[in-house]
């Protein structure tokens, strides 16, 4: 399943499928990006980050892709599990400035 930019704030996938959450960031000068996961009733939790000198970074079951040309960031979650159900935020930062959060995408994983 895939979300398109910030215009589709919800994404529903089947357990075991791959998920892609997209984020269109606003500032071409942004040089650091983070994905956070927020479960219901909890604070945002760091998932993975990427610097602007990279196009791709992989973690455990997660991959972040950065396309600076079109100012696009995506989070790919492999073999999505029910525990992945949460709101996912992208955040951008310009060195010397504050972190700016995107709108968030609600991911729902159906068993």
């Amino acid at each position: 399943g895939e979300s398109v930019g910030l215009h589709l704030p919800t994404l529903s996938v089947q357990e075991g499928d791959n998920s892609i959450i997209n984020c269109a960031y606003s500032n071409s000068a942004s040089d650091y990006f983070i994905w956070y996961k927020q479960e219901s009733g909890k604070g945002p939790q760091f998932i993975i980050d990427i610097r602007s000198n990279m196009d791709k970074r992989q973690g455990q079951r997660v991959t972040v892709l950065l396309n600076k040309t079109v100012k696009h960031l995506s989070l790919q979650i492999a073999a999505t599990q029910p525990g992945d159900s949460a709101v996912y935020f992208c955040a951008e930062n310009i060195s010397g400035s504050r972190l700016t959060f995107g709108e968030g995408t609600q991911l729902t994983v159906n068993p």
Partner: protein, 117 residues
């Protein structure tokens, strides 16, 4: 061990009251933050302190006053509470100053849900 903790977790109060939310981090970080999350889950920074010094102060009513007794604590005091103050407030911390070089990852507390009646 809780890295960033906030108290209370829930706060229900009447309009016009004054209330405080406390935050503590045991990560040894230099920078702490307060964020407000509205009903649409939008996270917006309010304040940031580095080593007890205010370094970010967004456009926030002056009814909100942060206080940092030491670099491990950043409390938020709110005077004359209004209905629109109802939200979830998150404290966060990061290792470095948020300028000069790339900001380090911010670690968030569990949040305080404030309801103003």
């Amino acid at each position: 061990d809780t890295a960033v903790s906030q108290t209370p977790k829930y706060l229900v109060t009447q309009m016009g009251n004054d209330k405080s939310i406390k935050c503590e981090q045991n990560l040894g970080h230099d920078t702490m933050y307060w964020y407000k999350q509205d009903s649409k889950k939008f996270l917006k920074i309010m304040f940031s302190y580095n080593n007890k010094e205010l370094i970010i102060n967004e456009t926030v009513p002056n009814r909100f006053s942060p206080k940092s007794p030491d670099k491990a604590h950043l409390n938020l005091h709110i005077n004359s509470l209004e209905l629109g103050d109802s939200a979830v407030y998150f404290c966060a911390s990061s290792q470095d100053r948020p300028w000069g070089r790339l900001t380090d990852t911010q670690y968030f507390g569990p949040g305080t849900r404030l309801t103003v009646l």
